[in-house]
């Protein structure tokens, strides 16, 4: 009998792919944002509005993660940007390996933003680093204000919390104050935005944050 000390992280392989993705992005000067939420929180709609508003000023590409169908990719192709649909065939999250394979097929050098829409799921995607520089977690008003306490990990790792479907607020007993307080319990520093992609309320702050993040990424010294 022999005991072998292994001390190896289970996600070591995913992390290795994520590092390679991050290097490729840094070389090309692309800001990749990983959008996470439960199903139906409005990730694709937020992307549509963003492409409509900022598409003239920045060059975008998108990776759409879903278990099945290319419905989301078709929605974004109307904006004439490179879109790759990843179908996980039942798996509940994207991995860095999938992203590396996708960006091989993408003209990275000409891009400003790569928007990655993760599989709709508030649990599993948060455990898989894709190599993104920024991570955004969405929570829609219709999901209820108790979700941060119930699904803490997805919110703990977010660089921004975006509360969506703000136009539904009067029709529910959703509490923005409760969400803000619960978010601070799990996430020390990240900002909170509340918006409605439908009415446009709060969207200016979202666009401004994307511009700020991009400027911060551009100011970072490039790896030669």
């Amino acid at each position: 009998m022999a005991e072998i000390l292994v001390m190896k992280a289970v996600n070591a392989e995913n992390e290795a792919f994520a590092r390679r993705v991050r290097e490729r992005l840094a070389e090309a000067g692309v800001l990749m944002i990983n959008l996470m939420s439960g199903p139906g929180a409005g990730k694709t709609t937020l992307l549509e509005k963003t492409l409509g508003r900022l598409g003239d000023r920045y060059r975008f590409a998108a990776i759409e993660g879903d278990l099945f169908t290319d419905r989301d990719a078709r929605r974004l192709e109307r904006f004439h940007i490179p879109v790759i649909q990843l179908n996980t065939q039942g798996s509940c999250h994207l991995t860095a390996q999938m992203i590396e394979a996708a960006i091989e097929k993408m003209p990275l050098a000409g891009l400003d933003f790569l928007l990655v829409e993760n599989v709709g799921n508030l649990v599993c995607p948060s455990s898989f680093n894709l190599g993104e520089q920024r991570r955004v977690t969405l929570l829609s008003i219709s999901e209820g204000s108790d979700k941060i306490a119930k699904y803490p990990k997805a919110f703990r790792t977010a660089d921004c919390l975006v509360v969506t479907k703000l136009d539904l607020l009067p029709a529910t007993d959703f509490s923005l104050a409760e969400v803000a307080a619960d978010f601070r319990v799990v996430n020390a520093h990240s900002p909170i935005l509340a918006l409605s992609a439908k009415t446009g309320e709060g969207m200016t702050q979202w666009y401004q944050m994307l511009k700020t993040w991009k400027a911060e990424e551009d100011a970072r010294p490039r790896v030669a």
Binding site: M1, I4, L5
Partner: protein, 118 residues
Amino acid sequence: MHEFSLMEQAIQIVKASARDHHLHDVTDISMVAGALAGVNVDALRFAFEVLKADDPVVAHSSLEITEEAGTGVCPRCGETSPVWHFDLRCPRCGFLPMETVGGDALYVKSISGGRCDG
């Protein structure tokens, strides 16, 4: 249920390590799951019992998973405390949020087994 894909990765790590150290079968696997790793330990154990049957190297292994807390450090009162849940409130002075260190890893700590050379 990302625990299945995580356990598949863990078994690959166990097999690679067994091969490197000339173990022909693995009797015990010890893993550590951080309290903030976002994994369900029971789901990991279940995934292991399902997956191990597919592989002769681990088919007779038993798995032990130890849960490990993160460490919270309060920037106001300096208290250091174990963090078992996603709650960054200082248990001593109530300040929010504490800074946290560790507790977010899931790793294979060690394996035991019989060597090929006896």
